[in-house]
């Protein structure tokens, strides 16, 4: 195995309470002083990449992130988990990301360019979706742009000696197993929850991460290098109309017995 590319996203930490000012439209999600972390599904992707690297000596894991200056922290976490180097496509502070400007199509276009530039990429591992915009599109769009074989919602990945990938996918009706044949294109696989349990960096690995290279390039420069159009990249494909907090959950009813419970369920037409 040669290179495994792992795109990672810096998002609001999963444990944070989200605060929304709905009068501000898509900019209403409070980001100031909010703890940010690596998207949990991206963590799973990084972990899988490292496990594959451990099984295939000589493989290089490259973590890549598109975002503001602070993305270097997210990339460093990936390095501390065991990735070999990082690429940071740095956006200016006024680029909000998600909902507002940069969307999956733009990210996938950038990643396509990076895959082609890097050459020798055998696999792109992504999280199935991000926990902020929950689009789940970047992986499939990238596969489409590359004309590459893809498998989404991976719960298990096995690499064959011939360079193929056998992937168990989670679907609504059960697990489906598909094989991505080696075809000269990188396999594109998005990772789901059951795939693995990400390791937390050990102290020595945090120190080692400091010495691993991170190549930072501005979004403008990268766009130019890849022959893309900056305005196109920053113009969202979708317009977010409204962002609001879900209405507070209504209180439930307490019942005194199983009979009462059955009575209530029948009343609501939920059981015959």
């Amino acid at each position: 195995m040669r290179k495994i590319l792992v795109p990672i996203k810096r998002v609001i930490d999963y444990a944070q309470k989200i605060r929304v000012d709905s009068s501000k439209g898509p900019q209403g999600v409070q980001l100031k002083n909010v703890k940010m972390s690596m998207n949990p599904f991206c963590e799973i992707a990084v972990e899988e990449a490292i496990q594959l690297k451990e099984k295939n000596k000589g493989a290089e894991v490259v973590a890549i992130s598109v975002g503001p200056k602070q993305c270097t922290e997210t990339i460093r976490t990936a390095l501390a988990m065991g990735a070999d180097r990082g690429i940071h496509i740095e956006t200016k502070p006024d680029v909000r990301g998600d909902y507002v400007d940069l969307q999956p199509w733009a990210i996938a276009s950038l990643l396509k360019g990076v895959v082609e530039k890097e050459d020798a990429v055998d696999l792109v591992l992504l999280g199935k979706q991000s926990i902020d915009s929950d689009c789940g599109q970047t992986g499939p769009l990238l596969a489409g742009l590359l004309n590459a074989p893809q498998a989404t919602f991976a719960a298990n990945i096995e690499r064959g000696d011939d360079g193929s990938f056998t992937v168990e996918r989670e679907t609504d009706t059960g697990t489906e197993t598909i094989k991505l044949n080696a075809c000269g294109k990188p396999a594109v696989i998005t990772c789901d929850l059951r795939l693995n349990t990400p390791r937390y960096p050990t102290m020595p690995n945090i120190m080692k991460a400091k010495k691993k290279p991170v190549n930072t390039i501005s979004l403008e420069d990268m766009v130019k290098e890849l022959g893309l159009d900056l305005d196109e990249v920053l113009t969202p494909q979708n317009e977010v109309v409204e962002v609001y907090e879900p209405p507070p959950r209504k209180e439930g009813e307490t019942v005194g017995s199983i009979d009462e419970l059955l009575g209530k369920l029948k009343e609501k037409g939920l059981v015959a």
Partner: protein
């Protein structure tokens, strides 16, 4: 009348972003703004503590025993060699990182954090500061990767009056080894220890100027670890007598110089107590972690407990004091890292943090009410665990003395 206690005034208007007004050289970062690496360290420790340690906390307290897999986990994750340089198989980090690990572990179990604290801030650092190259090469890799250490100073007759120790070290006729005889008491980590840093007097006629520090392998003939004390708190941390019956120690295993042991132990304890302050802050935060969600959830008379003004005032006070303790403690870490004298501040940090922890633990049980008094929650454990904070690594009275002496001198 209902006071609009949940209205937050500050969030409804925006302030100009002043952070870019000063040049980088003029800007000073807040003490609580840690580096990228330090934040990663904190996150890793928090994650490990919540995933691997938390499920075992109650059981280890009930059985008064630390599980071997927890000790192994501490080594595997690099928590045991925080400041040991990489060439000796350590993690090569700074003192603040070690304190952050201690704080995060304490937030889940102070019995485990004390093991990490003593090992890192007392033994490991003493070896790094005063050990010969040969001694460091022999012991640091073991300390970083597999041997828990104990700091064997106290005895039945000498706690605060550490220099009154009776354990002796007698030089062999050919001068190649010393024979240690005596009994140490109150020794933490002793059941798990692979190595003991033992303080013994090699020349009692010189009084404290004969005290010498020895590195003693736990398997050395004549060294016995006695039965653990049954304690109020920190129950999973082993606290045992350590008997030395003609224990032979090679002169190569003397830490630093003969007769300077008293200086080493005073100096290392001066900084080790910053680690204890971190532990106490972790305890206080651990109490808030239990109590605050409860206050936000539980209602009486149709009102969430967190919204009753009486409670608002109390938890605001405690939160303020925890924050003050944090600032005091981590500022002292930075002073130490920058070579600024910090003995007074270290004493203040330990004194104050242990007071805050005790208050937080006590108050949190009151806020939790009946359930806080049961073993269903860990609040009662924190209440028992925090008490030793005002006792070990220098009692609160001694801290007050230390601070007073310096204040007095400042005004002379």
């Amino acid at each position: 009348t209902v006071t609009p206690s949940s209205r937050t005034f500050s969030e409804s208007i925006s302030y100009p972003d002043e952070s870019m007004d000063h040049s980088y050289e003029q800007r000073r970062l807040p003490v609580t703004q840690f580096t990228e690496d330090e934040e990663m360290v904190r996150d890793a420790a928090r994650h490990w503590a919540n995933e691997e340690l938390r499920p075992l906390v109650r059981e280890m307290d009930d059985e008064a025993k630390t599980r071997p897999e927890i000790v192994q986990g501490l080594f595997d994750h690099g928590f045991m060699g925080m400041e040991i340089p990489e060439e000796y198989k350590g993690s090569g980090m700074n003192f603040t990182s070690a304190c952050l690990v201690v704080e995060e572990l304490s937030r889940v179990d102070p019995s485990v954090s004390i093991l990490v604290d003593i090992h890192n801030t007392l033994t490991n650092n003493a070896v790094r500061f005063w050990g010969s190259e040969q001694l460091k090469e022999k012991w640091l890799p073991r300390l970083a990767t597999e041997a828990v250490s104990s700091f064997a100073l106290s005895e039945a007759g000498s706690g605060t009056d550490a220099f009154a120790m009776k354990t002796t070290a007698t030089e062999s006729p050919d001068g190649s080894y010393y024979t240690l005889t005596g009994e140490k008491l109150w020794i933490s980590n002793s059941r798990e220890a692979g190595v003991f840093l033992v303080f013994a007097n090699a020349n009692p006629s010189l009084k404290h100027k004969g005290i010498t520090a020895f590195m003693v392998d736990a398997n050395t003939e004549g060294l016995h670890v006695g039965k653990p004390e049954k304690k109020l708190g920190l129950r999973a941390s082993s606290t045992c007598p350590v008997v030395l019956n003609d224990v032979k120690v090679d002169t190569a295993d003397i830490l630093g110089e003969i007769g300077l042991g008293y200086k080493y132990c005073i100096n290392i304890l001066n900084e080790g107590r910053i680690g204890i302050a971190s532990q106490q802050i972790g305890i206080a935060k651990g109490c808030m972690d239990i109590a605050m969600p409860y206050l936000n959830e539980r209602a009486q008379f149709g009102t969430k407990l967190a919204d009753f003004q009486g409670l608002e005032h109390q938890y605001a006070q405690i939160a303020t004091e925890i924050h003050a303790a944090e600032l005091l403690t981590y500022n002292t870490c930075r002073m130490k890292e920058n070579g600024i004298p910090f003995v007074k501040e270290a004493s203040m940090a330990k004194l104050y943090s242990s007071q805050v922890a005790e208050k937080a633990a006590s108050k949190s049980i009151e806020w939790l009410g009946g359930i806080g008094f049961t073993q269903d929650l860990l609040a009662e454990k924190f209440y028992r665990d925090c008490k030793v904070g005002s006792i070990y690594e220098g009692t609160s009275n001694i801290q007050l003395q230390t601070i007073a002496k310096r204040i007095k001198d400042e005004y002379r």
